[in-house]
């Protein structure tokens, strides 16, 4: 990889209490992600894939190591600001009570985006149609959504906020094949526009991945695609 990577992680170390004492879930992991790429991370269940994404999003307590975005060290970037640029979609996304539109505009209600304009109604309607939710009105209460619809709205929410890097933790685990295809298409479009994605997969492989890694025993190993 040449030039400054968009996202760089050095010597990431995370320990978790196991049944027989502390276990290094991430044991000195190095990782680089170029702009406009999609990295897929696979590994057995419990190997630390989610922990890896949490560490990249600075959402993991007690983690050590260095992170940099566009060559700028994470030390000089407030955690909240970092997360608007390196945004995680958790494995079990939860929406807040309210309507679909309330949830899609949620990022703009936060202090960290003070002064930014939230997306207009037409943008929301287009975005919903783009993930196969053409029949879901922005005014629908989120308690009337299915699990699969919640997963796609949570993905839309984080994408509309335009982060530089998107961290997806098994985004299609609760989706049928057609919906999973829409998620893959949306992810590919995000990458084509210059965004970068780290995607943890367990169920399906992403055909558009530009790099593949395997996480096992605390180590991240590059796989030849």
């Amino acid at each position: 990889m040449s030039g400054t990577p968009l996202l760089a992680a050095r010597d990431i170390y995370a320990v978790r209490e196991g049944d027989h004492g502390p276990v290094a879930v991430l044991d000195g992991v190095d990782f680089e992600l170029a702009a406009g790429t999609l990295a897929e991370v696979v590994g057995p269940s419990g190997s630390g894939k989610t922990t890896f994404l949490l560490a990249l999003a600075r959402l993991l307590p007690g983690v050590t190591g260095e992170l940099a975005l566009d060559g700028a060290s994470a030390d000089g970037i407030a955690a909240q600001t970092w997360r608007t640029r390196v945004a995680l979609l958790p494995q079990r996304p939860a929406l807040v009570p309210g309507t679909v539109a309330d949830n899609l505009r949620l990022p703009w209600t936060l202090k960290v985006r003070h002064g930014e304009q939230p997306p207009a109604d037409a943008v929301l309607a287009d975005a919903l149609a783009g993930v196969g939710l053409v029949d879901v009105a922005p005014g629908r209460d989120v308690c009337r959504l299915s699990v699969g619809q919640i997963a796609r709205i949570a993905l839309l929410r984080v994408m509309l906020a335009r982060p530089r890097v998107l961290l997806l933790d098994e985004p299609d685990a609760s989706l049928d094949d057609a919906s999973a295809g829409e998620v893959a298409r949306l992810t590919a479009a995000f990458v084509a526009e210059g965004g970068s994605v780290v995607r943890v997969s367990h169920v399906r492989a992403d055909a558009s991945a530009t790099a593949r890694y395997r996480l096992a025993d605390g180590r991240l190993e590059a796989l030849h695609a």
Binding site: R58, A79, Q80, V96, V112
Partner: protein, 271 residues
């Protein structure tokens, strides 16, 4: 007709106390017969009631005669610390540091509300007049303790229940307050609703405790009413301010400096 004290109260002797105890014995007998296994707790509670209240009676009698401001303030301090220990015990899943925050919240409300009432409403001749300060402080601290304990217990339970939602919020750039705000609201509602309900039911459903006591002690019901109104408002204020202060002092303790909510696996042992 039994003798009446100078204040108008009918005195109670050993025989009368024994009769009251018989009723508890009946309750204990029922528990034994029905296999409820409550008789032991009931017996211990009864003995504690006798010992603690007699001890209180002797202490108050001594303090009323020998009152000095350091003694009165020291007793208030003991009450605050004892109340904070109760909060700590009830909020079993609270993070370390909750004891200190409870002491601060209760000292703040206990001292402010008590001395505001004794100085501005009752207008006691000496600011540390134990006959007024101690009973009023007892009611203020006791009630704010209940409110704080309910609010704190609910705060940490609700934060745990919303951990997935908060992770999603934090991942979008939300700060600690933005993540915790709904739980803070839920906690304060839980802490304040019993007090608000009891204000709404006072005089309609039940005669409040202090008013009952004053009437039994021979006071004019209207005078007792005015005192009771002061006490109820003061309890409402103390409970609200105490619960708000304690919840605001505590909610951050469950987050890292970077605003990450500490899930169960990442916590230090409980306080």
């Amino acid at each position: 007709m039994p003798d009446v004290t100078p204040g108008g109260a009918i005195p109670i002797g050993a025989w009368e106390l024994a009769i009251a105890t018989v009723f508890v014995l009946v309750a204990g007998g029922l528990s034994l017969r029905m296999g409820l296994k409550l008789e032991r707790d009931l017996a211990i509670a009864t003995v504690r009631t006798y010992l603690q209240l007699f001890a209180l009676g002797f202490v108050l009698r001594w303090v009323f005669v020998n009152q000095t401001w350091p003694i009165v303030l020291a007793l208030l301090g003991v009450m605050v610390v004892a109340a904070a220990r109760v909060v700590l015990k009830r909020a079993g899943n609270a993070p370390p540091g909750v004891f200190g925050s409870s002491v601060v919240a209760m000292a703040l409300t206990g001292f402010t509300v008590t001395f505001a009432v004794t100085a501005l409403i009752v207008r006691v001749p000496v600011w540390y007049e134990a006959r007024y300060v101690l009973p009023i402080a007892g009611m203020v601290i006791g009630n704010s303790m209940t409110g704080i304990a309910l609010a704190v217990e609910r705060l940490f339970a609700d934060l745990d229940a919303r951990s997935a939602e908060m992770l999603g919020l934090a991942a979008l750039g939300a700060g600690v307050w933005e993540c915790a705000r709904p739980s803070v609201r839920t906690a304060l509602t839980a802490g304040l609703v019993p007090t608000i309900n009891s204000m709404a039911a006072a005089g309609v459903v039940f005669i409040p405790g202090m008013m009952t006591g004053q009437i039994l002690a021979g006071a004019d019901p209207l005078e007792a009413t005015k005192y009771q109104i002061v006490v109820m408002l003061m309890i409402a204020a103390a409970t609200s301010i105490g619960a708000i202060a304690s919840v605001m002092l505590m909610y951050r303790k469950r987050f890292t400096e970077d605003g990450v909510y500490l899930e169960k696996g990442y916590r230090e042992p409980a306080a």
